[in-house]
Symmetry: C2
Subunit: 331 residues, 2 copies
């Protein structure tokens, strides 16, 4: 396939994804739709080849994950997706084939999540591929769920399971070095974990439960331990979490049995895109019912208390765990 | 200076720039303020070291230009700035000193243009520095000025002067090769052109004139000839432009006198961030009065007519000019 010009590229691959307010991607700017009685929430996450994903990941998956990490931010705020802007910096060696796959994946998720493309910018990257997405959502006025807001005695809940994506990354690295633990991982489990890393599931269906019942919420992107600390710190809270209470997939559980030292990877590795939230005890039953009705598994993992120290994780014998690096930081 | 961690970096350099709805940059997302009776306009432009600016440009200027190119898009839509999200990918060798300069420049312009920082994402770049800004603006409902809308007989106006930034870039390249024309450029002129390239002036003050009187508008970023063609094409219009009518700075005029072949650089080089708009003749007097009151110089450069061919530029003898590349394209 020949490589189209910049204008042709936008007209061919991205204009079909354009929603109302995008003016067919033929303008410099877009209109963000407003919804009466609702606030507009905006979030922005950049994804860079070699940092956030592997350069040889399937292009459709790169596109979908780049959008989904933004939708996960909206989910944690109790917001409903409304549209997004796409900044795309293509490396020298891009191909029309790659771009077609990227646009196809992006279009599939834009449709599935009712989050149309509104506009953006396509440029040349002198280095790696960069995907910079800004996503918009709506939330009933004054009902945004913030990171700040945890009160003493709140019950901490997490959705889904923790550590799958981090284990997948670790598996990929350690398998190259023939680390013993990787030999015990079955093909199905490895594929399951890889899928979790490649295509996180933004927990948008939890938004009503969060808005109705949660004091605060955060999506877990930089590691469970670190993101928990981040949320608690904002209102001077801390917590004690029994590691055994953190929900794990069967695959993660098996790996942890063979290689207990990977608990740190699970709790601090990040890329989970699950939601961590704080719910007052008086609301916990209602929260669980609401989450269940939305089809989102939620698990209590601890209770908050006042304190300025970071949360403590305890092993089965009640000993505090010490992490080398509690949370992913770029610097 | 030591390099701060990611969280400290945000708290130190960017939190002081945060506006209402940013939650002190301690959340995953921001609220975009709505204004009764107004639409919300969003635009996104990426800037990459080595593509959009020189890696050794002053950090404050890099920040300001990255914001201003987005504000220029808002200006062309007739919108008023409301806030922005910052995506920043820092290369391996970033320093706290560089970042302090970047944040200072960004803060100065955010204040000057009443466009506060609302949120964003700071990550590590495996390659060049990348600045990805999404800017928001407000425009009275239904009053957005689009690229599409030019009618037959409209008068084409441009603000300011064309070609200064492109000449500056060309000067920088050609001076290294001792091109004869560069020897005739005085220091003051070279500095003037360099300033135009480094710090474009978004024509926000023109917004009321545009909303009241223009059929269509575009900000000139990819070259006057190409952006004119882009705007006219959308409604099947064309135009004849006398090159002598295109407004030039004194510096550009002197250079053109010594090196007439640089006319192509002037008309197609881009990075002008001036506004090109189409005004019906019945409104042109009022448009000029309104622009003048706002302190924005505007110059008529031609009249539109139906036609599918790209606009034609004529030299002083009435001969049509042929450009090798009428507009900057990344691909």
């Amino acid at each position: 396939m020949n490589r189209p010009s910049e204008d042709a590229l936008i007209a061919t691959y991205f204009a079909p994804l354009a929603g109302p307010g995008a003016f067919g991607l033929r303008d410099d700017a877009a209109l963000v739709a407003q919804k009466p009685g609702h606030d507009i929430v905006a979030t922005k996450d950049m994804s860079i080849a070699g940092v956030h994903f592997f350069a040889d990941d399937p292009p459709g998956a790169v596109a979908r994950k780049s959008l989904r990490v933004n939708l996960s931010d909206l989910a944690a705020k109790g917001a409903e997706p409304a549209g997004f802007l796409l900044g795309l910096a293509l490396p020298e060696d891009w191909t029309a084939h790659w771009l077609a796959g990227f646009a196809q994946g992006l279009g599939a998720d834009a449709a599935a999540y009712k989050c149309p493309l509104l506009g953006g910018d396509t440029v040349k990257s002198p280095g790696a591929l960069i995907v910079s997405i800004t996503a918009f959502g709506t939330v009933p006025a004054q009902k945004i769920v913030l990171r700040a807001g945890v009160a003493a005695g709140d019950i901490l809940y997490v959705t889904g399971t923790i550590g799958d994506a981090a284990l997948s990354l670790r598996y990929r690295v350690d398998a190259l070095q023939d680390s013993p633990w990787t030999k015990y991982v079955g093909q199905a489990d490895a594929a399951y974990l890889a899928g979790r890393a490649l295509l996180p599931e933004p927990r948008l269906a939890l938004r009503e439960a969060l808005r109705a019942h949660a004091h605060a919420a955060i999506d877990i992107s930089d590691g469970f331990a670190g993101d928990l600390a981040k949320m608690l710190r904002l209102t001077g809270m801390t917590a004690e979490v029994a590691a055994a209470d953190v929900p794990l997939s069967d695959a993660a559980r098996k790996i942890l049995h063979d290689a207990p030292y990977l608990l740190e990877t699970i709790l601090t590795g990040g890329d989970d895109y699950e939601i961590l939230c704080a719910v007052p005890p008086s609301q916990s039953a209602a929260f669980e019912v609401c989450a269940d009705a939305a089809g989102i598994p939620v698990h209590p993992v601890g209770t908050t208390m006042p304190g300025n120290a970071p949360p403590v994780f305890k092993d089965a014998e009640g000993r505090g765990l010490v992490f080398a690096r509690p949370s992913f930081q770029h610097f």
